[in-house]
Symmetry: C2
Subunit: 210 residues, 2 copies
DNA sequence: ACCTGAACACCGTTCAAGT
DNA sequence: ACCTGAACACCGTTCAAGT
């Protein structure tokens, strides 16, 4: 029946699909094997262990992040990257933490970081400043995505509505703003925050000649 | 020998210690039981399951976050909260993701969010603006802490140095700035980024009368 | 009332054996 | 060369039984 040979690519693709569907907790090598019509142990001929398989899955997500046209202005390149990363990561919310936490050991991730750093060097003309703003921008972007995907992942796993009743006396502001907090548009807020961290970058070079 | 009775408090404290020592992956109900001189199954008389135990552990961390003096200026209250959260979370790096991701269902977390929202309402005098900047500030703070703790957690688990060799041709900026990136002082960068997101908050009210 | 023992339904991973 | 079966050392959780 299943004569399609097992490859790392097929394994990674199947793992990504499984995780998108079940979440990270529900993901196991045995189920993944079953998806591929194979015993779990067969996977170990192609992949050293579960941990590095997950690293490969994350690399696959980064590969989906569209690279900006290098002719764009520095801030537009960063905006493009941020929104492309957001799109890729929202498509696979269960892997957000791993994606945003993984050290840049693979070329595909390094390349995307390089775009960011290159844009900031061009803008500031100062290596130390470029690095400082790199930290601020990546912190905002990963934090925003963490917050946005958290709600998705919560509603997947949590079934009961056991939230403690909000105490309006000790938490007056939270009680007043709760409705506003719940109805926010993440895409708008993401762009809003990105504008703030980009506006803080001191531009010492004039626009590149064309 | 062990006549000290099991309580939720003792269980949570022991779990926190175990996780700080072993990381989240190495944590199990059976080991936790052993730490307390008890079979794992005894824990289930005090705690419904592992998941809610971890929620209690996170609540414990938030309880360690020092509350700011309410007489401080709005931005100083936020700064105080951010640095206090950072301190609490760095003491327990393996729980960062959970801490920063958990919905505010417990009073102790709600109270800390209320401080933030209250400060922003006071500054802006506008509920919608307060919420927008709340998102930006929390995104930056959680992203910064995620990045800072990531290195800690990585060196704990990863043993081999299997980083792909950096390609200086496709990644010139990363190659040039790699050393600067590695030697950054997280505390300084945290304060730097916090200043940026706080400076973006439009202050429409004058300083409160004393 | 509180804890234990045995059991169930799972894991990741190793390794000799099959084809 | 690639996959399987059985096994090892673990999991979280249930539940009847002990004290």
């Amino acid at each position: 029946m299943t004569r399609v040979p097992l490859t790392v690519e097929r394994i990674v693709a199947a793992a990504l699909a499984r995780i998108d569907h079940d979440g990270l907790d529900g993901f196991s090598m045995r189920k993944l094997g079953a998806d591929l019509g194979v015993e779990a142990m067969a996977l170990y001929k192609h992949v050293p262990d579960k941990e590095t398989l997950l690293d490969l899955v994350v690399a696959e997500i980064y590969a989906e992040v569209d690279l900006a046209d290098p002719d764009l202005a520095w801030d537009e390149r960063i905006r493009h990257f941020a929104h492309a990363l957001r799109a890729a990561v929202l498509a696979h919310p269960h892997l957000l933490t791993r994606a945003v936490t993984q050290p840049p050991t693979t070329p595909v991730v390094q390349q995307r970081i390089d775009v960011l750093l290159g844009a900031l060097r061009e803008a500031t003309g100062d290596d130390a400043l470029a690095v400082r703003h790199f930290w601020v921008i990546t912190a905002f972007v990963s934090g925003a995505l963490l917050g946005e995907t958290a709600s998705v992942r919560q509603t997947d796993t949590t079934s009961d509505e056991s939230a403690t009743e909000l105490d309006a006396i000790t938490c007056p502001s939270l009680a007043a703003l709760g409705p506003v907090l719940a109805t926010c548009d993440f895409a708008t807020e993401f762009a809003f925050g990105l504008d703030i961290v980009l506006a803080a970058v001191p531009v010492t070079r004039r626009r590149r000649p064309r």
